[in-house]
């Protein structure tokens, strides 16, 4: 891994990616190395199988959801720019960066972070977390430690609480409202090593 360390020059469109994601060159190089490690067959892209092969990830109760989130744009392949773009969701929001009103929301903005979490729940992509979808995630996270009945009551309760328009589902707007008081920047960011 360390021996095959790459330089920025090898990464295609590095400048654009940095501009778009806000990663530093060091970050990008590091992630590129990681990308190559994950890409065992040197295909130049990643497949869901590559993710499944990550040992630690297998322990994660909602790993299939998270892997799925990397392949949202359809297809079974993930190239490096998409890989970086998705990881960029988890950069902490940088406060010092001058805000240009014209530029679109950075990838790591609060609402984009939330959107990422939201789509983990919303499997059918109808913009709503239905009771069924919520139950699935809950079941995964709680494993077999609670009964189905309890799960359902939790799910009902959750929807009831967040559901403002009474359609028995949580829309993104409702999702955001329910997490209004949570410091998303703290809770949905990781520190990327240089």
């Amino acid at each position: 891994m360390g021996s095959t360390s790459s330089t920025l020059a090898k990464i295609p469109n590095a400048e654009d990616l940095m501009q778009e994601t806000g990663f530093t060159p060091a970050h990008l190089v590091r992630l590129y190395d990681r990308f190559k490690v994950l890409d065992k067959d040197k295909k130049g892209f990643l497949t869901p199988q590559d993710f499944v092969a990550i040992k630690e990830l297998a322990m994660n109760p909602i790993c299939d959801r998270i892997i799925g989130a990397f392949f949202t744009s359809g297809g079974e392949t993930l190239d490096f720019p998409s890989f970086v773009r998705i990881l960029a969701h988890f950069r902490p929001i940088d406060k010092n960066r001058p805000k240009e009103p014209t530029s679109p929301d950075p990838i790591n903005s609060r609402s984009n972070k939330l959107k990422f979490a939201f789509q983990l729940y919303d499997q059918d992509k109808d913009g709503k977390i239905s009771r069924h979808e919520l139950l699935q995630v809950l079941r995964a996270m709680l494993e077999k430690q609670v009964t189905e009945e309890q799960l359902e009551s939790i799910a009902d309760r959750t929807i009831q609480e967040a559901d403002l328009d009474r359609d028995d589902a949580i829309s993104f707007e409702e999702f955001r409202k329910s997490l209004e008081k949570v410091n998303i920047d703290h809770k949905m960011s990781i520190r990327f090593l240089r």
């Binding site: 998270i66 009551s153 009831q160 609480e161 008081k181 949570v182 920047d185 990781i190 520190r191």
Partner: protein
Amino acid sequence: MLRVVGLWGEVSAEDHEDGGASHHGGGYKIVQWEWSYVQTPYIIAIWLLVASVAKILFHFSQRFTTVVPESCVLILLGLVLGAVVLIANKKQLYQLDPGLFFLFLLPTIVGDAGYFMPSRLFFDNLGAILMYAVVGTLWNAFCTGFCLYGVKLAGVIDDKVQAGLMEFLLFGALISAVDPVAVLAVFEEVHVNEMLFIIVFGESLLNDAVTVVLYKVYISFVEVGPGNVQTADYFKGVASFLVVSIGGTMVGLIFAVILAFITRFTKKVRIIEPLFIFLLVYLAYLTAELFSLSAILSMTFCGIGCNKYVEANISQKSRTTVKYTMKTLASIAETIIFIFLGISAVDKSKWAWDTGLIACTLIFIFVFRAMGVVGQTWILNKFRLVPLEKIDQVVMSYGGLRGAVAFALVVLLDGEQVKAKDYFVATTIVVVFFTVMFQGLTIKPLVKWLKVPRSTNRKPTINEEIHERAFDHILAAIEDIAGLNGYHHWRDKWEQFDKNYLSKLLLRKSVYHKSELWEAYQKINIRDAISVIDQGGNILTSARLSLPSMASRTSFPEVTNVTNYLRENGSGVCLDLQVIDTNPGAKVEEETETHHVLAGNLYKPRRRYQSHYSRHFMTVGDQERQEREVFQRNMRNRLESFKSTHYKRHKKDRSQKKARAQLHLSQLLLLLTSRVKPTNTQLRLGMTQAELVLKREGCSEENKGERSEPDKDEDVGITFVARKGSETPKERPKSVPAALEVCQSPSVAPPSPTCGEKNLPWKGGIGTLPPCVSVEATKIIPIDLQQAWNQSISSLESLASPPVPQEPQHPRVSFQFPGGKEEEEESALSQQQQEMQPLMPSLRPPPPPPSGWCVGKLKLCSLMGL
């Protein structure tokens, strides 16, 4: 305030005169002997009392408490008390004894802090905490020590202060540590955000190892003399630090495991669960002390480590007990520490003043604290996800309070070895007073002025609970995918380990199987319970259905008891509702309204007269009183509702009203009489049944009122007396139809004869009836209605075959009531049936008894206070 202080002064003065007498050995032998017998516990008790009363009086003035931190007032009080003692005794009897402090007072505070440490927050910020605790304290200690020595060489400090480099380093070590007691006392009132608090507080706890080691190392250096210190000794010092800190932590964790393991098996002996917790946490402290490891570290980590498992294992009641006992002890220990700090200051024999030393120390500790914080934060911010802002740094520098630990350590110094001990003591006292009083007093305005983000006292909603859990998983996964072994990666690893091994070992089987999200799930349960109550109440005004966790409500009531009750008496709806946190503004009007509803409709709380005999069941004795009250209430309610509905509906139709009311009332009586069975026992049963029926109605009515405002009374059991277990609050249709069903159902169990006899109101003796009831009732019921009532009674009486001559107040009136007549009456009443829905089923009782009806009708009247 002055008056108050004077009062205590007297108390303590008397106290000491007594003590003095015993020492001087007067001629009054019996008294003398008794005093020496009770002396120690007596003095302790008196001190505890003084401290507690001080707290009460201090909290009388709301405005005062918001400005002045409690610790300041307590120190001032201590000063005054000390002065009184000094004047009365010519000699200071009391001071903060290091032994007492380290063995008893400090552990209570640290134990409380450790056990209730928000562990997630603590470990999220562990890096910063450790940095400040270790590096920061070392930096403070060395800089203060060296600079004081430098200043001494420069001649600012008087020559009388006989101290060399080692002494100053020793002094620097003990004065530099931020004090957990002071930090807790001051920061608790400031309410800065959790992160800031945990960093300062965590630092104050974890720096103990550094302080202990530095203190011991320097003392040994002072003993052997600075010239004889060898290089190896410095390395020994470093090794000692590692042993003391890591060893202390390990001892704590070992005890945590033992404690958690023990609580696995306490199911049959719930009563001593809290004791185990106190004992083992305290033992963790003592054991660390035994091996001269860091006791504070040990206790802190024991608390943090065991909390999760212990809380899951022990019962809800034990949890509450542990919480309250710990808080009580910690609070009283804190009070005593501050009072004694004040008292200790008034002791001329102990200390010697040197302005240069004091001024320099104050400046140095403040400057170096600020420098240390800024420097370390600069380094930390390179690694922290959430950088510490400038404001945070200011508060952290300013919040570096010194306290009783420093004082106790300085008092412990050996005056023979450390010649300048008296100067050091004086300086320490001044430093402690300055930091606690001046900084403690000004930190609040400072925080306000800097607009430091405050803590929000808000419990997470279930959405937050679930989604944050999902976030944790997401972050761990992302770290795995990105190939970073970061914080989330390790936390995830730890959780796996915990789930697979630790929890299996330390949690009860029953708990373990639900353990993963058990805590969260429990909270969810509680909320569900509240929401059920809330919804039930608000269906009446269903336009604004509000859930407790919605944004409109600022906070949750502390509802631990709700689940407890729901779990324990699953059938009966018995809620012990605690306070909702102050919910200012907005709903005040609505609240007062509901308050009136509640005050009007709630039954008096169940009292447990014989609670000291058994904690487990309620005595039957007062049941009678309660049932009577229930009955009275219901009758009164009924009358009132008649009054109001008919007043409203037929306001213009006053002439009709009277007649109707009359009819209703007689109908009401019929309801009661119809339930009554011929024979004597049956009569009683019937009576009880009727009461029960009414009680049921009362119940559902009460539920209506209750649900809308479930959480007003603290510690007052609001008892819903429901006899039949099958209903759950959700299923029960609100309002009177519920009662209708119940009336019809034959399963309303009649009590056994003996029990029934007991329950009979007239057996219980009318004398117990509070005389106020009748007055109250007559006030409530308008005169014309009363007349109607009386008329209806007399009409019924006229129907009875042997007219009863007794005066209406007499409780034991009974009269014959022919069944046929009753039916006649019923048909006459049929017009009113629509409005009388709830009562109707009772009008068609099981086969109308032929004759010989004994009716305690007048009894009923008197019961109702008419």
